[in-house]
Structures are given as structure tokens and as C-alpha cells.
């Protein structure tokens, strides 16, 4: 079945099984290795992508549901202003450990900055609650996102 969608701002189409997971389409057919599989059941958020501007776990989504929609992966977002800002903050705080969960965290944090962006710890915790990190204890992730919110504020929300 032919499925067409927008992937990181480019129009793409693919002939595939309608039930193939979006995660597998991205990794196998588009070689987008930044989308990681860890739990395979929607618990950990390592495979998070933006689907029509909302974070979704791509391991739980069949490709048929992506028809006509917009998909962004972490690599796609890394080229945007807020993506760059977040990467700088994650880097500066030495927040990244094994890094396997971070592309998912980037996508979710990007969505938070874009839709709310308040430097509020409780809100940030809620926003990131669908992403699991086993290495960090989350503290430095909060610190990074908080820092990105503050910096984005000081640029007048240039996003």
C-alpha cells in the first residue's frame, strides 16, 4: 500500500504493509537511525517523534495512520532554532549519559518549548513523563530544559 507523508519537511511516499510500525519504516526504509527502539510497547519514549506537532511513540503507530501527516524526528528538529537551543543546554550541563533515550527527550522537550515553554519544574516534569532515562536520575535533564526555557524567554521566544 502506498503511504505518503512529510518527513522532516520533505514529502515522501513508500509502498509498504499498512500495519508496519512507523518506527520500522523510519529505521528500515528511511535509515533514520536516530529513532531508537528500547521497550517496543510505548512505555519508554525512546522512539518518540512529532506527528502533526504532537509527540507520539512511533513503536505503537502503524504507518497507515501517518498518511498525509507531518513527521519530525530528533535529527529534523536539531536543525531548528529550539532544537539547537536544547542541544546546547543538554551539552552544557553534561546531562547526557548513555544517550539512548535522548533523541526522544529532544523531541518531547522541543514540543514543550514550542507549546508552553514556561521555566516551571512541575510542568517540565509532566511534559517529560513519557520518556524514561535509566542513567541520569533526570535532574540534569530538568536543568537543561529549564535553561532552554529561560534562554528562549530571553530571546523573546524567537521560535
Amino acid at each position: 500500500m502506498k503511504i505518503s507523508f512529510t518527513l522532516n519537511n520533505k514529502k515522501v511516499s513508500i509502498d509498504t504493509e499498512p500495519t508496519k510500525r512507523l518506527l520500522d519504516v523510519l529505521r528500515e526504509d528511511f535509515k533514520m537511525m536516530e529513532v531508537k527502539e528500547s521497550c517496543g510497547e510505548g512505555e519508554c519514549g525512546a522512539c518518540t517523534v512529532l506527528l502533526d506537532d504532537k509527540p507520539v511513540t512511533s513503536c505503537l503507530l502503524n504507518i497507515i495512520h501517518v498518511e498525509g501527516k507531518k513527521v519530525f524526528t530528533s535529527e529534523g528538529l536539531s536543525k531548528k532554532f529550539l532544537g539547537k537551543l536544547l542541544i546546547d543546554c543538554f551539552d552544557e550541563t553534561n546531562a547526557v549519559q548513555c544517550g539512548f533515550c535522548f533523541p526522544g527527550f529532544l523531541v518531547t522537550s522541543y514540543h514543550y518549548l514550542k507549546t508552553d515553554g514556561e521555566a516551571n519544574l512541575e510542568k517540565i516534569k509532566v511534559a517529560l513523563s513519557g520518556n524514561i532515562c535509566r542513567c541520569t536520575g533526570y535532574q540534569k535533564i530538568f536543568e537543561s530544559v529549564m535553561l532552554a526555557c529561560l534562554r528562549n524567554d530571553s530571546t523573546g521566544g524567537k521560535s
Partner: protein, 717 residues
Amino acid sequence: MKNERKFDARPKVIGTHKFVDDYHYDGMIYGALIYSKVHHGKIRKITYPNDFKLSEFTIVKLEDIPGKILIPEPETDQPFFADKEVFFYGQIILAVAHPNKNILNNFVKKIKIEYEELSAITDIKETLDNKENTFGKQIIIDHRRNVKVEKNWLKTHSVYYTPHQEQAYLETQAMIAKYDEQNEEMFILGTMQCPFFVKEAVETILGDKIKSVQVETSEGIGGGFGGKEDFPNLLAGITALLSFKSKLPVKIVLDRSDDITITTKRHPARIEVETYTDPQTNKIRKMNVDYRLDAGFYQTLSPVVLSRGVLHASGGYNIEDVYIHGRLIRSNTPPNGAFRGFGAPQAFFAIESHIEKIASELKIESYQFRKINIFRKGDEFPSTQKISEDNLFDCFESIVEKSDYLTKYEKYKKFNQTHKDKLGIGLAIGYHGGGYTGNGEKVLDSEIKIKIDKKAIVTIYISNVDMGQGAHTTLAQLFSETIDHPFELTNVHIPNTKICPNSGPTVASRTIYIVGNMVSDLARKIKKDFGFDNLKNFVKQNKQIFPKEFSAKYKPDPNISFDENTYQGTGYKDYSWAACAVELYYHADTYQIELLNCWSMLDIGHVVNPKIAVGQAEGGVLQALAYGSSEFFYKKGFGRMHGFTDYTLPTTMDIPKLFIDFIHTDNEIAKGLGEVPMDYPAPAVRNAFFNATGIFIDEIPLIPETIFHAMKKEKKL
């Protein structure tokens, strides 16, 4: 003390840093493991589905092994594959490979294995309670000093239980093997902590069928925590065998369900503690510890976990007369393995809970009781090793102050008299010996290599991996700081057994403590031998000398020794010390605890990169808090746990505020950091709950079920 940024942070966030599943080789096929779904049984029949072309599949079993069938381990007793009988749920029976992942998965689902089921020991608590299940070598530390028990001394006795814990590294176990038939060489690429262990395992399974094995780690290693210490040996062996048979590159990536089912976990423990305390002085005068670990069906590296466990089993207290008996217990579950802490978290849970029990029986505040008994400089371990510093005491005093423990303790006592829900604050202390136990580092005989090129670019060659702890950045920083060379010009080579010397495995909090200090020593030696002030200028002026390689071997301290038979002597040359306070809220209606704050104070000697160190400690503390409060593994019926929906990890909403700090010492040595944060927080949770409710709990995690049962037992329901 600089906060150099991690080499790999940016590509990891973007997602371009490569983990095993991101690698692809031409002609590569995919492998899968087929394992036992019974706890014990004879294999009657294996039937392959007949709607597939069997010739398209590569299938390997025990009889296909050209080399040796046992996986090299401290105790070499586990075969790569089961033979005619399986002994635990998850034991690998065969492996299959096919060029198409979907066809492979469908084929695997349809393979039918019939068993004649036999009796199995799978109830963890019952298994540990039964001494008859003991196997392997037992360890005794005999520090009895003929202390005569007086009639008025308080005898305190209790049995403590700790459960399995899953490492839950986010990147599952994964391996690629690429056989070069022409040169009879096997190349392995994988996610692992110990490349040279993997090399040995592949050489073992293939024997003289190959000339050489080269092992390289993937660019990124998606977490390890001990879980990638020994399982990769098994996985690499089998992947290599598939590649050898098919003559094609083979990749195996476990899915989460298989990973949770068949890989190693933290050993469940049963620890019985008996103490005699003089009520006049409030000093513990005598202690007996019976320390048991459930090893699973095979011993593998459990004897080593046992040895660390017994060396930490009497806790951080100076007791004249101590007797520790350690043993392994066999059950029909997968072999348990390494997990951050390596036998010590179990020990500290028991001892730190027990201290609280004695104090409550003596009717004194446990803070005072700890203060009277805690290790001070000049005291000694049961191994007779002398305590050379007062840093445990300093950590303890500092945490009491930082957490405002004494004020809160009194305040909550009053609060709890009038409220159904309760508030509690609890303390715990811990420590962790750095590096291999006893003579282990001497035996390892680690070697490092440093190359300096014509542009003064320094490359450090070691076999220790960066699995997220930031070890490679920290090692480069150590070199750069030691001789004031630009950090930007200092790199660490990706571990590869053909290119890098064997600096030992990435375990036992040894990468910075042992290998890092070797790097600093070699940097100083290079500087001294050439007599330069500035390496960059020196290279510029003496280009003809470069590129040049330098190497160094580990130099054991000749003044220390350890007797492996009596467990007397220096167990570890240096210890990292820590103390902790946990504050919680108890919701009486739902039997739930909510962690509010956790303060940790650690002594790790020289803190090389504070941000990296704090981050690593925060992660360890959270794993430990979850071990004590929420991570739950079935005690019965292994194999029912399939993923992160069953085994729940803490999310951003489940965690307290974490405060990490390091005490300042003039120690120039960077001591171990990886494990110590795992050792003490779980009992602090338990003790906070005890102070909140007065209910004695002898096991973790403190999930509502555990609390409910404990209340029922104490007839408070």
C-alpha cells in the same frame, strides 16, 4: 576540577551516535535466540514449522560448537546452549538466523519444543531459606575475638530479604559477528562492558576453527550498569557461531521481552544478622552475619559477587567480634550477574535496617547509635584492614546537618501523633571498595597505551568502555589536566581488542580509579622523561620523535596483601564513603510512600569533572531508591515479566528531589564512583518509613503490598 563537556553529547542528543542496531554490513542476516519456556525439563522434541524453507535458515545448537561448550567465567559452568535438559526458564536451546527479519520472527514463533517437565526450585524466598540449596565455594570471614556475651547485653536478630533487580539499560543486548572465511578471522561488534572477555568467549566457542578474533564496541553503549559485563560473552559466542556457520555477517538484537527474561540480574539475597549490644555503652560488641545470594542455576560470576558481598557485610561499624558466612544458593532461574553495587546493596540494606532495629530496642535515636558505632580512623574491617581516613564519619555528620535530620525527626514525630498519613526521615551509610577485590588487580595486570602524533594530538588506548558514565571524557580530562595539555587535543580510542591493550573490564568502579590513575601517572612520566613544560611546544620543536607511543602497566602496591583463603588483609586499597538521608510521605489509605527528598554526601577523593560525577551519582541514587521503593520482580514463576509495562522504572513523576554533594578532601586520587551511590539509598527509604510509622519492614521494595503485609504481621490492620 573542570567541567569539560562530554565528547559524545551532541551526536547522542541528535541521534547520530551509532548503537549496535544502527550498524549494517553487506549481506548481513538476522539472528534470534530460542530458549526454554519451562523451569526444568527434558527436551523431548523440537519441531520446525513445515511452511518455511528450512534450507534458508542457519540453525546452531550445542552439537555445532567446534570449540568448548562452557562460557569462560570466574566459575566456568554454564554452557552456551542447553543440551538434552533445560534447567531454567530462559536457557538458550538453539539460535536461528535468516536474511529477512519478518520471516525469521514468524519462523521462531512457530518452532515447537516439547518438554518432559521436572521439578524446579523457583520460589526465591523459599529457595534462599533452604540451606540445602547451597552450592559452590563458601566464604567465611572470621574476626571472632572471644568476646564473652554478658547477660544484660541486647541480642537483636533479624532476617532481611532483597529481590532481583533488572539493570534495564535502554539499549538491549545486541551483537554483530562478521566472519572472514579467507583469513579465518572473526570480527565482533557489540554493546558490552568487557571487550576482552567477549574475545575470550568467541575464541572458546570456535576453538581452532579460527585464527583470530577482533572485538570492537559500538560507538555508543546504551547503558550497562553491570548487565553488559558477562551476558555479552554468551551472546557474542552464539552470534559468532551463526556467522561461522552461515559465512555471513549476523546481527542479533534482543527485544525487551527476551532481554528481561534471559539476561542476568541483581542477586536476590537473604541476610541474617545477629548482634549483641552493650546497653551501658550502646556499642555493638558482637555480630554474626549469614549472607546468602541466589545465584540462579549456574555460578558464573556469582562467587565474585559473593566475595564483595561478604567484604561489605558488616557495614560501616567498628565491631570487635564479627563472623560472616557467605554462600551461594542454587535455583532454577537464569544465572544472576553483575549489577552496580555487586553484592554490597544487599548487605547495606540488611545492616542499615538492623542498626535501626537495635536503636529502637535500645530506645535511643538511631543517629546517636550510628555515631557511637560508626567506623573512625584506625578502626578495622573484619578482614583486619585498618580504616585510614575519617571520611565516612564526615559524610555522616554532614548529611545529618544538610538534611536537618534532627529537627525534622522531632517535628515529624509530633506530626505523626495527630495524622493518619505520616512523614518520615531516615538515614543510611555505605561504602564501596574500588577496583577488583583483594589481589584481583594484580592478576588483571592492566595495560594502557598513549599515542602522541606530530600535531600533539593525544590518543588514549584502553579497553574500558564509555557506557554513559562519561569515562572517556573524564580520562581525557585526567591526561589533559595532569600535564596541562589542551583537552581539545586529547582523545580516547574506541575500545578494540586488536588496537587497544587490555586495561581490564569496565566494572568494579575501576575505570577512573585504576585506569584513570594509570593515565595520570603515565602523563607525568612522559613529561618527566622528556623534561618539557609544554607538550605542544615540545612536539613542535621535536617533530622527528613523533608520532610516538607510550605504554604502562598497573603497578600493584607492594605493601598490601590479601589472603584469598582466609579473607584477611586488604580487601580494597581505597574505599569511597557515603551517607544519605531520605524524606518521605506515607499515604495511609493507599499504603503508598511518596519520596520527597534524598540527600547524599559522598567521598570519592579527587572529583575530576564535577558535573559528570554529580550526574552519575544522581543516576545511581535513583536506581537505588527505586530498588528500595518501587522496582518489583516476581518472587515466583520467573518468566512472567515481559517489559517495562511489568517492570516499572521511575519516571520524571516518581522521583524525589536529589541532592548530591562531595566532601572536600586533599586526596589526589580519584576513587571509585560508579557503584557507591547504589549501596545505601534503599535502606534509607526503609528507615524513613520505619521512623514515620514504627512498622518494621525486612524486605524491599516498599511497594503497597509489602507495607500491607508488614502491617498485617504487626497486627496494625
